[in-house]
């Protein structure tokens, strides 16, 4: 069997996208925890000279970079339990939402990195994004993929588990059960799926990490970054 190795970090949603894909397909792999950003391994820099980022999947010594490109590679290389639908039109819809997750979905991270007046702009951006994701991408489906977890669920995974930590750290509530009933329900359904539940970073550890990061950036003892 050709060796599969994943370079990732314990708190990164991008790293977990790849973990979920590998676990959903039952692909055995070795994991390398990278110390980002201060002490990246030589191997990581060799495998991803362009971006110098995780995740990187190494299959039979050959590296693949960029989380959703890795997930598509996994889906094409190990076709059992497919993550993408088989119909070209539905595949195009899935790819559209993957792009959306990478582009507009990143609003939650822009919010995390902001403070003060700037935050208002990003809060609006997040709410608009969540509205579109709920109405247009998810609709009344159980998962973005339909009855089963699919590639779009994986792409939006950070909304399920990381957004809550961002909300608590920044001090805003965005994904309310009343405002976004269907998307809120999805976050629970997604996290209750056995493969996902067993492969999530510890929430408390993430909270400590995220609060520490914002305190370092903004130097506040209350790391919410809002003036009281």
């Amino acid at each position: 069997m050709t060796e599969v190795k994943l370079h990732g970090t314990w708190a990164s949603p991008f790293s977990f996208r790849v973990v979920w894909a590998l676990k959903l397909k039952g692909i055995p792999y070795d994991y390398v925890e990278e110390d980002i950003p201060y002490n990246k391994s030589k191997l990581l820099l060799q495998h991803n000279p362009v971006h110098k980022k995780i995740p990187v999947l190494v299959h039979g010594g050959k590296p693949i970079c960029e989380s959703m490109i890795i997930v598509e590679y996994i889906d094409e290389t190990w076709p059992s339990n497919p993550l993408l639908p088989s119909d070209p039109y539905e595949r195009a819809q899935a790819r559209f939402w993957i792009n959306y997750a990478n582009d507009k979905g990143a609003a939650i991270w822009r919010l995390f990195r902001s403070r003060g007046d700037e935050q208002e702009k990003f809060i609006e951006e997040c709410l608009e994004m969540l509205r579109i994701v709920e109405e247009q991408a998810l609709g009344d489906k159980k998962f973005f993929g339909g009855d089963e977890i699919g590639i779009v669920d994986i792409a939006f995974g950070d909304i399920a588990h990381w957004l809550g930590v961002i909300e608590e750290t920044v001090g805003v509530k965005l994904l309310g059960a009343n405002e976004f009933p269907r998307l809120h329900a999805w976050t629970n359904t997604f996290k209750e799926a056995p493969v996902i539940r067993q492969n999530l970073p510890d929430r408390h550890d993430m909270l400590v990490l995220f609060k520490g990061i914002r305190a370092r950036w903004f130097g506040y003892s209350s790391s919410s970054g809002r003036s009281d």
Binding site: P49, V50, H59, K62, I64, C65, E66, I69, I70, E72, Y73, E76, T77, P88, Y89, R91, A92, R95, F96, N99, Y100, I132, Q136
Partner: protein
């Protein structure tokens, strides 16, 4: 080609994203109806087909819309299986192509656009940034696509070639309007010779706007960006 295959493409003639789809349809020999959109006055049909982004290009196939240029390219490749392939079959090679397409789409395009929108010192910095990105591309081409040294022919025009020419294919017009080297043949000889060969292929030449049409457009776009904001 299947019977009853109705294909419509909504685009705008200067848009590089539209050029990608136009080129792909040409390479695959797919007949279609073209709808030129006025981006200041978008048609209700376009807004209906792309409610999320409200942008072109949109490909409509038998009444069903597909949005986002790169998504459309993969859809075209998967739906029309005859003719040249836009992506290779091997999953590893596909991943490499997607990686470089992404790099071009996100980083090179933005860097090029910055040069068009700025002048003076800001532009100088932006140009340096572009050349750095193209140097990364140069290294990537050497490592991952040793086949780049093969003659550039129409049969080999795939997703990567389509995307690179949509961004850098108008380099001659851009260089003449801006008065600077978009692609430096000394810093990035491989990128330069590859793009220069690609723009001579019929599929590319017939897709990109003619020089005489593009130059005034570029001048207009630049003047709009450089105009001081009205108080």
């Amino acid at each position: 080609m299947a019977e009853g295959n109705k294909v419509t493409l909504h685009g705008a003639w200067p848009s590089p994203y539209y050029h990608r789809v136009k080129m792909a349809l040409k390479v695959k020999g797919i007949a279609y109806e073209y709808v030129e959109e006025d981006l200041m006055n978008k048609s209700p049909t376009l807004l209906k087909h792309n409610p999320v982004h409200k942008k072109i290009p949109v490909l409509v196939h038998n009444g069903k819309p597909i949005c986002e240029s790169l998504v459309i390219l993969e859809y075209i490749d998967e739906t029309w299986k005859d003719g040249p392939k836009l992506l290779p079959q091997d999953p590893y090679k596909r991943a490499q192509i997607r990686f470089w397409v992404n790099f071009l789409h996100e980083q090179v395009f933005e860097a090029l656009y910055s040069i068009i929108k700025t002048d003076g010192e800001t532009q100088e910095k932006a140009l340096q940034g572009l050349h750095e990105k193209l140097q990364v591309l140069e290294e990537g081409l050497k490592k991952f696509f040793p086949d780049c040294s093969k003659p550039v022919v129409s049969e080999n025009v795939g997703m990567l070639e389509i995307v690179v020419t949509s961004i850098l294919g108008n380099y001659k017009a851009q260089q003449d309007v801006l008065g600077l080297k978009v692609i430096d043949s000394e810093k990035t000889p491989l990128v330069f010779s590859w793009v220069a060969a690609l723009v001579d292929l019929p599929a590319v030449k017939e897709t990109l706007p003619p020089y005489e049409q593009y130059v005034p457009f570029l001048n207009f776009m630049r003047q709009t960006f450089l105009k001081p904001p009205t108080a």
